[in-house]
Subunit: 218 residues, 3 copies
Amino acid sequence: MIAAAPAPETVAALTGALDLFGVAVFAASGALEAARKRMDLFGFALMACVTGVGGGTLRDLLLGAPVAWVAAPATLGVCVGVAAIAFVAAPWTGRWTGGGRRALLWFDAVGLAFAATASAGKAFALGAGPSIAVAMGVVGATFGGVIRDVLGGETPAVMSREVYVTAALAGALAYAALRGAGETPAGVAGFAVAFLVRAAGLHWSLSLPRFEGGGEAA
Amino acid sequence: MIAAAPAPETVAALTGALDLFGVAVFAASGALEAARKRMDLFGFALMACVTGVGGGTLRDLLLGAPVAWVAAPATLGVCVGVAAIAFVAAPWTGRWTGGGRRALLWFDAVGLAFAATASAGKAFALGAGPSIAVAMGVVGATFGGVIRDVLGGETPAVMSREVYVTAALAGALAYAALRGAGETPAGVAGFAVAFLVRAAGLHWSLSLPRFEGGGEAA
Amino acid sequence: MIAAAPAPETVAALTGALDLFGVAVFAASGALEAARKRMDLFGFALMACVTGVGGGTLRDLLLGAPVAWVAAPATLGVCVGVAAIAFVAAPWTGRWTGGGRRALLWFDAVGLAFAATASAGKAFALGAGPSIAVAMGVVGATFGGVIRDVLGGETPAVMSREVYVTAALAGALAYAALRGAGETPAGVAGFAVAFLVRAAGLHWSLSLPRFEGGGEAA
């Protein structure tokens, strides 16, 4: 009995909770960018919403599926709530650096790992093949951050930051490779691989080699 | 007879005219950005089109509806016409500051008020609930300007400018609240609320409090 | 027999090859931007994919059609392959200036000419009228580059560069005008017109007059 698979409703509840958690931490990173740019409360809300749901929105549009948060309005509520808390709390967090910022990066790794795995799973469920499913894992996990950085006037950080895209790609690949063994083990494996790769990147400040030929100063 | 409701065809004609007027003033603000960046005629046209129809396009994609201007090509014609007029007339308008720019802001308030109300109405008509309809009101009224600013290399102004998003939000909320009383009174109320909030913002240069903790210089 | 029309399978093979060639040269221009910004390998891949398929993706979303590359995953494979080659080869190409960059511009003109004509053709095939079809020709040929420049933090070059949008517009117009004469002659004419206009722009460094009134320094 101890080794029995978890009940389907347990998995569904966990999946739903991780989904909202991922949206919330992505939203928090959007609110952080709004704080850096000294936006007003609605700027915080807009940046939180766009970052929280941006990756999943692009994934759904590319797959021709209904956009998930449009059918689940609580998602935007979570983003707006995060923005409001961030707007009020921001002055006390020591410029969002130090401990608070560090904690956010680790929460963000959880969101990244979940989004990569769940996005690949959604693509498979809609009939996509493995290469498109993996691409959707990367899109779902990273494009919220890309849009956040574009709106904030920055070159997208995911393109050079500590193995961020690498983590999404590794998790989606692990999920796709193990999908034959069942949805739950594949999902757990994808989540774990993405999280561990990103955790290694954060812990040791890993970066992939960047092109160092004659470019512009970054 | 005096208090009779307007005939449906009158409402439809007024709605269609306001829609094109809103597209035209948004397009003009895109052409103004093109002038500031010294683009060529096609840059003017592209900026006018993207700003004129950008908000409605994103709204329609999110709702899974056919994109409105693709079925009504005259919309793009209005944008291109505005761009051509702006390209020719720009040198005479005193750097688009002073009176011309001021007038454009007031016209833009009309476009904003209409887009917020009509976008919320379209979402309701497609079966969305109130919170998504209000979100679509904000998206339809503001994202043309967001895309304009991103293409022009600016941090989106709507995130900090005189109660712009606030006006769209207030109008969409008023429309949603009064929808039970009928489409026409709700639409008039939503339009009036959005316009008056924005007008107050323009007249008294209102801004919401911005986050003033340790951010970057804006 | 000499003047016979080419067999349909020949046309289809040529069309498919030109399509992938166009994606590859657009992808190369994305990888070039990644090199200028000194991104890592995944930055190269992401910029190559977004630039390679961005214009066609927006075109398909606007038309309400399934996104082409989602049904043809080899497309992304071409982009990733181009990115990998560019990442390895970049240090040897003399800062991507000189001959390599010049060659890329000419290849890009082929991609532009094909994308403008094929995008207009796809819009017609989906039931659009001539003005929307021409607009889709411009979108499909230019928006990959627009997204590339936005992600790279640049003001989109197509808005001021040597008759780039003009070439796409001219090709799509020629295709639309000649479509009554048959798909193949119209396609060849559209391709030729777009390529020749762009070639003239490259050869003589043509630019449309830019707005020179009181704007900002570009």
